[in-house]
Amino acid sequence: MVLRCDGKVPAQNFAASGVAFTTTRWSLVMDAQAESPLAQRALEELCRIYWRPIYSFLRREGKTAEDAQDLTQDFFAQLLERGDFAAVRQEKGRLRSYLLGSLKHFLANDRRRAMARKRGEGRVPISFDYLRSEECVDVEEQALSPDRVYDRHWALTVLDRVFARLLVEGQHLGRPGLTERLSELLSGEPDPPAQSQIAREFGMTENAVKQAFHRLRQRYRQLLREEVAQTVATPADVEGELRELMIALRP
């Protein structure tokens, strides 16, 4: 029975009830029986975040920059209009695979013409501002299939957001630049020579650096999972998605 909660007063014990869980956006969308405004907004937000893999896929397919931008907008507009969520459940609730499948379907069905009319009323204003600086497609990417390019940019988006959050949080630490320096060590083993460098640079003891790094790494892992959790159906899927991303990224 839902009514059972041991409500307590926050100032003394600020967790007002046992139910305290952040809603992941994608699970919201997935569960929507009807089109609730909340689900719509959630999906819009997700589109705004994950447009880049879609765009990169289209570029790798050979579209020009302008065409790719238009297609991306159209695709998302159409998605939001008539999202077919039965298909999502088949994808086991992974937004990444769902979007790619949806995109391919969209391209095959050539809805562009229909969408051309609606373009003016674009509901998802995606800002392509950052594109120019990034437009240099890596040489390596030419050797990859479009699907792989898509996954790679998906992963980059995830990591980008995670690092952005880490940096923002790091500003509270009172040592400007420390988070950035420590972030560089994040993959691979904790590296004692590099850490003692940092200790010298910032006037800290090596132990303090070690601890800070450890905390950063914990936080990084947490944020990484949180970020991925936004795009899968249940917390249990997070690990699987991370692994798939990693495998997809390895040559």
Binding site: M1, L3, K8, V9, G18, A155, R243, P251
Partner: protein
């Protein structure tokens, strides 16, 4: 200076090129010299690669330092064993990686090394030699000789082994053990998994001393965490008492028992059950499992398994010698244990030993209800109606089939003379065949199984009544009727079952059973589906909200089809009240709808138990009329004697009215009827915590963790709360680390950080958790406290303003919940707005004084005290605190001592006195 120049050069060189780790291309957008794949890989696993290995995820690099991992050869409670190649020496070894866990301190690890080194000093053909001991990435590991053969438990399997062979093996291991004992080293973890057999079939003992790693302050659950199956541990180990040679003898006896019979001496359905068996029950006589076992060998193995260590063989050598005597057909020394026959309770017989079991008096009262102390072999009389099987082809009949089970269950539940388990607790046993297990887990003597085929307008039901104690069929019946008769079938069936169990049904009960809930089958199905939605939970409020809204929908449709469907109206009342109470909502529309639904129910069936329950819920959750609610619940309890909700709600109300003993009793009764619902143990643990009976609170939480591993988080949270109340930061930390998701309990984490005086981190965590107004309300005050502790006026102001802003929607809304006034008052105090702060805090206290709410009332007074303290008015603050110090739910010792929010009062002798009193438990009258 010289070095930093080098650094810069190196960085420029590698920027934008390849990954330092794997050589793949890297992205300039990300920091450092790594490619996305390596970054993600390093993000996997909380402790790095070692943890990945332990968790059985395929390691992507088969390297672990000096070792190249070849394959996994074993897995246990502590860790994983690999066959590996030691690169530096180019030899094959066995490498065991052990999960150390967050509660192992430096001291523990040091002790482990000492123990492992001592074990490594043993040189005996029967002991697996240890080569290297080390630590990596937060995990301990050691390498040892690789015994090509395997673990004894894998080899023996579930079948009894030929007796001679078993004895031969045990004799050898016993002598090996004796060698170690003579050198002062205990094994502590003897079990089939720790006995390896080589190619010649010779036994080798491994993993000496590892159990040391988890000694001392651990609770039972933590031990089980590491040791894995508790089936082989000795009673004194379970009770955390000192261990002796006899402990290892017990272990060996358990292994012998298993080899002889194919079963471990004790195996309950859950960890907790098993431990209880180990402590309280005699093992089943071996020859009942395997008739080939003769009396003498049975006697020997049972002697090893004596609860009292002094009654066992004094040494492993004695055991070996007695076994050898048996082999030679000579008379054995062990005396037959005829004294402890069936029904003999070890605990009762040996009161001194009973003290080994750390149960306090109050707890046993509760446990008496939760776990009947009757003869363990015979679960108390009672029945569980298991989910029925749907034999038809169409999946859409699933609701119909569930509906039949639901109705029969509800009807049977009306019989006061019979204990009937709630539906929530039985649903998880869909498709489960092992009725003995079910009987033990739910503590019932019987289950009802059924299968249904619905085709066209006919229904075929096959029902069987099974005795769980010996898995025998007591009675079976088939029904082949028209669909329209279905309620009649169910009514007949319920009455037949009651009579089969020799239970009396009085006239009123009979009438209630024979009342049809509705004439419309489709309406009934809608009702059943709605019921399922209201009984499930969700990970977050949003999901719960959606489910409830869905249920409400279905119920509306049901009553549209049948306007006399009283049950549906009752459920609609409850559903709307739930919607009304979802945190942060309190939309009056829901309350009104609940009222309307209730009136309809009262119009149709004013005397029904469900109607009284619905009225009680409305009285309490709709009107806060505690006294009338209890009256209605009293009536409801007579008419619905097996309804867990009745008792649960009574308990909650009684708590508010300061009737704590009754509350505990009723929670226990709810738990008895609904053993698989974790909300009951949660409530019990919280209640004990409010009463400052911390030991009982912890024990309840520990048991619950064993019983509900998937819902463990709420209990770890509870344990964290207890630790904070006691002022034990280490324990609180440990509990937090156990949460599967710290983000789900940001408030708790913030408090721990505050207590640890890690103000910046507390602040950071609080801020990071702010995603919407609700979450700001959760931890806003925490951020303010952190800011005050840093004496940062700007931050205080910023956070206070933000927090206060988050309350605007509530203040402008329809709700008159005193909680929000109380909290806003505290925030205003932080902003220095004296008049407002005091007024708001006082308002909360007036709306909900102590005698009208013993659960939340004290918090409002405490908040008033806090506001005074922050405004610099010490005397008033002390006055308020003093008024609640002897009251359950008052401020906790740990809180007063460690929470920086009370810093303004520190040093005042009156405050110190209050703190001392806060440590004392509140007596249960």
């Amino acid at each position: 200076m010289h070095h930093s120049v080098e650094m810069i050069d190196k960085r420029q060189l590698t920027k934008g090129k390849v990954c330092a780790r794997c050589g793949a291309a890297i992205s300039s957008r990300l920091p450092g010299q790594s490619c996305p794949a390596c970054l993600i890989e390093s993000g996997l696993g909380p402790d790095g690669l070692a943890e990945d290995l332990r968790d059985g995820k395929a390691p992507l690099m088969m390297n672990f330092g000096d070792y190249e991992l070849l394959e996994e050869i074993g897995r246990g409670g502590q860790g994983v064993v690999f066959r590996a190649r030691q690169k530096s020496l180019n030899r094959i070894v066995a490498l065991k990686v052990i999960g150390v866990g967050p509660w192992a301190t430096e001291a523990h690890i040091r002790r482990f090394r000492l123990e492992a080194e001592a074990a490594a000093s043993l040189d005996h053909p029967g002991i697996v030699p240890i080569y290297e001991i080390g630590e990596r990435d937060g995990s301990c590991y050691f390498s040892m000789k690789c015994i090509e053969g395997g673990q004894l438990d894998k080899i023996a399997g579930d079948q009894p082994m030929p007796v001679r062979r078993a004895v031969e093996l045990i004799v050898k291991v016993a002598r090996t053990l004796h060698y170690a004992h003579q050198r002062g080293i205990l094994h502590r973890d003897i079990k089939p998994g720790n006995i390896l057999l080589d190619k010649e079939g010779e036994p080798h003992l491994t993993d000496f001393g590892l159990a040391r790693l988890i000694e001392s302050e651990s609770t039972i659950t933590r031990t089980m965490d590491v040791l894995g199956t508790p089936s082989y541990i000795a009673p004194e180990q379970a009770a955390m008492k000192p261990l002796t040679n006899a402990t290892d003898v017990y272990g060996l006896g358990a292994v012998l028992y298993q080899l002889l019979t194919g079963y471990p001496p004790f195996a309950g359905g859950t960890t907790f059950e098993t431990i209880r068996l180990v402590l309280q029950v005699e093992p089943r006589r071996p020859h009942l499992w395997n008739p080939k076992i003769d009396r003498d060998i049975a006697t020997i193995s049972l002697k090893c398994l004596e609860k009292d260590p002094q009654r066992r063989y004094a040494s492993a050598l004695e055991l070996a010698e007695d076994l050898e005597r048996w082999s030679r057909h000579e008379p054995i020394r062990a005396r037959r244990t005829g004294l402890l026959g069936r029904g003999g309770k070890w605990v009762r017989r040996n009161p001194a030993l009973a003290a080994l079991v750390p149960l306090s008096l109050a707890l046993t009262t509760v446990l008496a209800f939760m776990f009947s102390r009757n003869e363990e072999r015979l679960p108390p009389a009672g029945i569980a109606v298991l989910p029925f099987e749907n034999l038809g082809d169409e999946k859409e009949n699933a609701s119909f089939v569930d509906g039949m089970q639901d109705d029969i269950l509800t009807k049977l539940a009306k019989v006061a003379d019979l204990k009937v388990i709630s539906r929530t607790s039985v649903m998880q046993y869909r498709g489960v065949r092992n009725t003995r297990e079910i009987g033990r887990a739910l503590r019932v003597s019987h289950v009802l199984e059924g299968s249904v085929r619905k085709s066209g307008d006919k229904v075929h039901l096959n029902a069987q009544l099974i005795d769980t104690r010996d898995d025998t069929h007591v009675w079976a019946e088939q029904y082949d009727r028209d669909l329209t008769d279905v309620f009649a079938i169910q009514s007949e069936l319920a009455q037949k079952i009651a009579s089969q169990l020799s239970k009396k049904i009085n006239r009123a009960e009979k009438a209630a059973i024979e009342t049809k809930p509705t004439h419309d089958l489709e309406a009934y199905e809608l009702y059943v589906r709605a019921k399922l939605l209201t009984r499930s939970s969700g990970p977050d409020n949003l999901e719960v909200l959606q489910k409830l809204a869905g249920a409400s929908d279905l119920l509306q449709r049901a009553v549209a089809r049948d306007s006399n469907f009283a049950l549906a109206y009752c459920l609609l009342t409850e559903t709307n009240l739930s919607l009304y109470w979802i945190p942060g909502r309190a939309e009056p529309a829901f309350r009104t709808r609940a009222d309307v639904a209730l009136h309809n129910a009262q119009r149709i069936a004013p005397e029904a138990g469900e109607t009284h329950l619905a009225k009680a819920l409305f009285d309490y959750y709709g009107n806060r009329d505690l006294d009338h609610a209890l009256e209605e619940l009293d009536t409801a309890a007579r008419l619905l004697p097996n309804n867990a909700d009745v008792f649960d709600t009574s308990a909650r109300i009684e708590r508010r009215l300061n009737r704590w003993k009754e509350a505990l009793r009723h929670f226990a009764k709810a738990a008895e009827l609904d053993p698989r619902d974790p909300t009951h143990p949660t409530a019990i643990a919280t209640t004990y915590r409010l009463l400052r009976h911390y030991k009982e609170a912890e024990e309840t939480a520990d048991r619950a963790i064993g019983m509900f591993p998937e819902a463990a988080d709420q209990f770890w949270k509870e344990k964290g709360e207890v630790a904070l109340a006691e002022g034990d930061l280490e324990k609180a930390r440990a509990a937090i680390e156990k949460l599967s998701s710290k983000e789900a309990f940001p408030a708790l984490l913030v408090r721990v950080l505050l207590y640890e005086h890690n103000y910046l981190e507390a602040e950071r965590v609080a801020v990071a958790s702010w995603k919407d107004e609700g979450s700001v309300r959760f931890t806003g005050v925490g951020a303010i406290i952190a800011a005050r502790a840093q004496a940062d006026a700007e931050k205080i102001r910023a956070y206070a303003v933000k927090a206060r802003h988050a309350y605007e929607p509530l203040l402008n809304g329809p709700s008159v919940d005193p909680t929000m006034f109380s909290e806003v008052g505290v925030i205003d105090a932080a902003l220095g707005r004296r008049e407002d702060a005091i007024a708001e805090c006082r308002r909360a206290v007036e709306l909900r004084p102590l005698d009208r709410d013993a659960v939340e009332g004290p918090d409002y007074v405490a908040n008033l005290a806090l506001a005074y303290a922050w405004l610099g008015e010490r005397d008033h603050a002390i006055e308020q605190l003093s008024s609640i110090i002897h009251v359950p739910g008052g401020p906790r010792f740990g809180d007063l001592k460690l929470n920086p929010m009370w810093d303004d009062l520190r040093g005042d002798p009156r405050f110190e006195q209050i703190m001392a009193t806060a440590a004392e438990p509140i007596p249960l009258k």
